[in-house]
Symmetry: C2
Subunit: 323 residues, 2 copies
């Protein structure tokens, strides 16, 4: 006969247990000691009423935090197609999860202004403007930028693009390469830095074109360059996925890698479907993710968080050889 009764609240539990609302709250939150007998009475009442714990919405309002961190990655499907992005995401999620925070995917155009976010991670390489930025600033949401534009008020996590890129270029130069071309990402901070590193060694390196980190995309980009490829003896890519695309396309066109063409990548991720190990610049993806998440935690806690610049390392594989 008791219609669809609404879900019990903490007040119901408190009443049923014969304690005050505040005591019931303390029982669940543990923020102050509660005697064992009282705790049991409250928990018993909760169990009987089918109370499933404090309403998160109410807690959030009171505490002024939502427990949710946004991560902007552009288009989901393209962003995560590159294993490097996944490794990073994994590390971020690990740290935030341990801190009890959830990770909310922010895709490009959606309007997330209505969602309560405790902080936002911006990890869209290859984009320099962002509609949501002004809004986040207005709402005082801490922003952690990964390899992006150095926006005022945000914390900045980055790697040594230029150093790594230059080291790779020197490796090629030492192998005797003189005519080097590069596949780029969209114009962006990391892209500019990496290109600068390349030009430290090869000032006249040719740009074949820009594309995202996707095997098919890079294949169609370099396809015609490989037919009539002029004097180029090495191609430097901005990700291992791009490099894999170049290797596959080169082979399809009858070129041997590395004998006829040296190919280099960036990131240092596993490419199990390629039968050679790429020469690449290994970046500490897990460290980058951890550093990002730690920065988020710090900013949420209101601490002063300093920017992070992580080192990279050249890894010489089987995809580069003397010119």
């Amino acid at each position: 006969m008791s219609g669809p009764t609404r879900a019990p609240t903490l007040a119901d539990v408190a009443a049923s247990a014969g304690v005050s609302l505040s005591t019931a709250s303390l029982t669940f939150s543990g923020n102050k000691p509660v005697s064992a007998t009282t705790r049991e009475r409250v928990l018993a009442a909760a169990a009987e009423l089918g109370y499933s714990g404090p309403n998160p919405l109410a807690r959030n309002l009171r505490q002024g935090r939502s427990g949710v961190v946004g991560i902007a990655v552009g288009q989901l499907s393209t962003a995560f197609r590159d294993p490097a992005a996944l490794a990073m995401l994994d590390a971020v999620s690990e740290v935030l999860g341990a801190a009890g925070l959830g990770l909310l995917l922010m895709s490009d155009d959606d309007d997330h202004a209505r969602l309560p976010l405790d902080a936002v991670i911006y990890d869209i390489c290859g984009r320099e403007t962002w509609a949501a930025y002004a809004d986040l600033v207005a709402r005082d949401v801490p922003l952690v930028v990964v390899e992006g534009p150095a926006w005022p008020g945000s914390t900045y996590i980055d790697i040594e693009h230029r150093v790594g890129s230059a080291a790779l270029a020197e490796h090629l130069h030492a192998l005797g390469h003189r005519d080097v071309a590069t596949v780029t990402l969209a114009a962006s901070h990391p892209q500019r830095e990496r290109e600068a590193g390349l030009r430290d060694v090869f000032p006249h390196a040719r740009v074949l074109g820009a594309c995202e980190s996707d095997v098919a995309a890079v294949q169609s980009l370099v396809a015609h360059h490989l037919d009539d490829r002029g004097p180029v003896t090495a191609i430097v890519c901005q990700s291992d996925v791009q490099a894999a695309g170049v290797v596959l396309e080169a082979r399809r066109r009858g070129l041997r890698v590395p004998e006829d063409l040296s190919v280099a990548g960036f990131d240092g991720v596993a490419t199990p479907w390629l039968d050679l190990e790429l020469t690449t610049v290994v970046q500490p993806l897990a460290d980058k993710g951890h550093a990002t998440a730690e920065a988020v935690l710090g900013r949420i806690a209101g601490a002063d968080v300093s920017d992070v610049l992580l080192p990279v390392a050249l890894r010489v594989g089987d995809s580069t050889a003397p010119a």
Copy 2:
């Protein structure tokens, strides 16, 4: 002199504009008409005070919704390594994003009981129990299960595993194959269905072993089977990624595909780094994602939502040939 003044609230704006709190609220929410002059006064006051819109936390509490939908996918890095998962995620995000809902990643072990979720999508093939399930039920959170166990109270989105698998098996049978082996996923509803479909045609098909949808994993799984492979002439996999792994490993061992060994996959995703088109069972990934998201919206709206069963289609590629 005015210390760190706290962020302005709607009450401040209302006072400054000389209107009531309710009118100010209506100005922002648009739930009831407000005269143009009043609206302008309110907006002007808001601009002057630097008010950046209603606090989402407060709105959420009042409305009893958070605007966030959780999606459980197991380990992030492994879940998204398969492009099929990404395609699905993309479609889900598209629909939910358009509805103003955010998508929160729930990884395995994190405790998300403290987060306010309007609904949860369960998309972990290969798992039959879930610690969070009881909790979600207790909290009355709508649950949409994709290819998972048919849990009471949840909405169920699935594809025709058995039909597709049987169609593929018949294709192999028609090619003259009689000795077929299969690589499986962890024991789960879709795996059982697919295996049943396979055994409809090949009752004695041999199971090589189970592994996740990952090139490297499948390679090490089938490695020794390919050396001394007995009478097997075809291997049926549970994903295109698995199939790609088998193809690569077979070639590494000197077997030609499809001349010496036929290989089939499942999903119908692009494998640009493979130079042949896989024979596979194409599932409508975008439709599946859309249906999932629509089910979520329906459940949140309190509607009766019926389960969805989507069709699949056999696609014959270059990886299967006469035995």
